[in-house]
């Protein structure tokens, strides 16, 4: 059913034309004192670049507070970016007027993390799926209902559940319903914000498979946000590793797992507990906690925890360097 990844990848890279280009995206949340004076910024996202290619998946990985969710929300304009641009169909969507953006809004949809709060408890699940079609005035009432039922079937929910309320479903089922809702308006790009991290492992694998199947059937482009590298590995064609608002490494999935370059990526990989007691992997334990994004460290943002820190790292911001085709990393060790 699913084609092997390598084939798909090769084919796509031949005529690679990005669907969405995000450049220098920044989002600062201002901190004001109790008197309303501006005293600083939380630099949640601090200059992020990446491209989304048609029908491919880009994974954004990082620990909590690294700005991966804010990046996803900025692309949907759920939060206004401080700086940067996102080119879609030749236009910068951050510069569009609210009315103009509304016309293309249906191309961008989102699947949320928390299955318990992402559906309105007072709305039947059918209505929840019809809602986006109503908002964008697609089809007649009859069409909307037919489509909603078809979508329910596609995500593996029985048709006769149409009139049931969210609390009658389990977490995994709700996540399926959330996906059906995102699909209702035929989006091009779906931002998946930790869609499986609240689920049990046996349910998690069901949803991952479903997401991949749906991507194939609906020709979707995913931005897949997760803290779990092993999940991202199964979903993504390309992975961006984020740390403290910056992308520190970007590479095709197999390349990243085969030859991780940045010390942070390596530490992340080695920290994953493997479900095999016989393998005790050489762990790079990084000390301490993520610094506050209000005062990010000077130079390389990772230098406070990096096991290979040099004097230079504390002063100079490393730039992204291409190591092999498509594999970029920002680390002074590569010079």
């Amino acid at each position: 059913m699913l084609q092997p990844y390598t084939d798909v990848e090769n084919k796509k890279q031949e005529h690679a034309k990005p669907l969405l280009q995000v450049r220098n995206l920044k989002k600062y949340f201002p901190i004001t004192s109790s008197l309303g004076r501006h005293v600083g910024d939380v630099k949640s996202v601090d200059g992020v670049d990446f491209d989304l290619y048609e029908q491919q998946t880009v994974g954004l990985v990082g620990e909590s507070g690294c700005g991966k969710s804010t990046t996803g929300r900025a692309i949907l304009r759920l939060t206004d970016p401080t700086e940067g641009e996102a080119i879609y169909n030749g236009r910068d969507i951050f510069k569009l007027k609210e009315k103009e953006f509304h016309k293309i809004r249906k191309d961008f949809q989102m699947v949320f993390q928390d299955p318990h709060s992402s559906l309105n408890p007072k709305k039947r699940i059918g209505e929840a799926i019809i809602e986006p079609m109503k908002i964008h005035q697609i089809g007649t009432k009859r069409d909307q209902m037919d489509r909603a039922m078809e979508l329910l079937l596609k995500v593996g929910i029985r048709k006769d559940q149409f009139y049931r309320y969210p609390h009658e479903f389990s977490g995994g089922q709700r996540q399926r319903i959330g996906l059906a809702r995102a699909l209702a308006v035929n989006p091009k790009i779906v931002v998946c914000d930790e869609p499986v991290s609240a689920l049990d492992v046996s349910i998690q694998s069901q949803v991952i498979n479903l997401l991949k199947e749906i991507q194939e059937n609906f020709q979707l482009t995913y931005l897949f946000i997760s803290h779990d590298l092993s999940v991202v590995r199964h979903m993504a064609d390309q992975i961006c590793v984020m740390y403290l608002g910056k992308i520190v490494e970007r590479a095709p999935t197999d390349e990243l797992f085969g030859h991780p370059n940045h010390p942070y990526t390596r530490a992340l990989l080695s920290a994953i507990p493997l479900p095999n007691p016989k393998i005790k992997n050489e762990r790079i334990v990084i000390k301490g906690d993520v610094p506050s994004p209000i005062h990010p460290p000077s130079g390389c943002v990772f230098h406070t925890r990096c096991p290979f820190v040099m004097e230079r790292c504390k002063q100079q911001v490393p730039s992204m360097k291409e190591l092999t085709a498509g594999h970029y990393a920002a680390c002074h060790l590569n010079d």
């Binding site: 059913m1 492992v201 991949k212 999935t253 507990p273 493997l274 479900p275 007691p277 334990v285």
Partner: protein
């Protein structure tokens, strides 16, 4: 053979609710020895947390009923009265929780909360208690413990809070630690740090640990023995090597297969266990896993299997473990 520290025998915990009696834990049996880490693994709703709370009898007294035996150092602690139980909690058996933010009182400093745990169980002067608390904090690897001692829970990061909670639980040098999903809310790099801390302290204090988690990776990392739970029952009980190399129950096999791996072929579809966990007020008649099991037959659907011994280190609750 080593004497057991904790022996749970046929524990049954049931709640009376609006819609009748729900048995969340149904005949759980396991043993923990000193210096050993027992992993209890299962998905949400399998009763692993209720098992932990039953050991310390932390559940609502009015609506909860415990049956069976929980022998701590040979004494059944289910028969103890409130006061005797209080002596055991914190002092002999300690517990750490998943959510360190809500488990610490926000209006007291870290130091206050740790010294309170000390003075509750030991006769000790203020100064001595403070010193002990700071020692414990540094044992958990907190940087500059003297400073953290005077800080409030909201002032420190999640990983620090978890460390502070571990310090609080261990300050009275308990013999048994129950860790209920201690790293679930943490990032992987912090999780690795915390697991290391727990392991080091275990060796130092020669404690027994009951590690409750849904993450088989964590189990493989720190445990010596594992029980797998499903819908209130132990379905497999084995030492960690045999469980991972030779899982006998189809549920355990399924769980191991459906975890996304960081190596191997990633183009294949992930293995899935069909369906969802049934609800506790609607438990299947035969084997509890029969409805989702790819190997189930008429016998599985109608007769509940018993926990059978495969060898002296491995038990399983399945009719067909030898065939599949």
């Amino acid at each position: 053979m080593q004497e057991s520290l904790l022996e749970v025998k046929n524990l049954k915990t049931s709640f009376s609710t609006e819609s009748g009696v729900v048995t969340a834990v149904d005949g759980v049996t396991f043993t923990v020895h000193a210096g050993e880490t027992l992993g209890v693994v299962g998905e949400s709703g399998c009763g692993k947390s209720v098992t932990a709370e039953s050991i310390l009898q932390l559940l609502n007294e009015r609506t909860t009923k415990y049956e069976g035996e929980i022998n701590y150092k040979g004494k059944n602690i289910l028969t103890l009265n409130k006061k005797q139980m209080q002596q055991i909690r914190g002092n002999e058996i300690a517990m750490i929780f998943q959510d360190a933010m809500t488990s610490l009182n926000p209006v007291f400093t870290i130091g206050d909360q740790i010294t309170e745990a000390i003075t509750a169980h030991m006769k000790m002067g203020r100064k001595e208690a403070n010193k002990k608390a700071i020692d414990m904090l540094s044992l958990t690897g907190i940087s500059s413990p003297e400073m953290r001692f005077h800080e409030y829970p909201y002032e420190i990061s999640g990983g620090m809070r978890q460390r502070a909670m571990i310090a609080m639980a261990l300050v009275c040098r308990p013999n048994l630690l129950i860790a209920d999903e201690p790293t679930t809310a943490l990032d992987v790099t912090i999780q690795a740090q915390i697991l290391e801390v727990i392991n080091n302290i275990k060796n130092e204090l020669n404690m027994g640990i009951v590690m409750i988690t849904h993450d088989l990776g964590v189990i493989a990392e720190v445990c010596t023995h594992v029980v797998v739970m499903y819908l209130g029952q132990v379905i497999e009980d084995a030492d960690v090597e045999s469980l991972f190399s030779n899982p006998a129950h189809p549920y355990t096999k399924g769980l191991l297969q459906c975890i996304p791996q960081i190596d191997g072929d990633r183009s294949r579809q992930l293995y899935t266990i069909e369906g969802i966990v049934p609800s506790l007020d609607n438990v299947p008649k035969g084997c509890r896993f029969s409805q989702r099991c790819p190997h189930s037959d008429a016998k599985c659907l109608n007769e509940p299997p018993l926990l059978e011994e495969i060898n002296d280190k491995h038990k399983v609750r399945c009719w067909h473990y030898d065939k599949i």
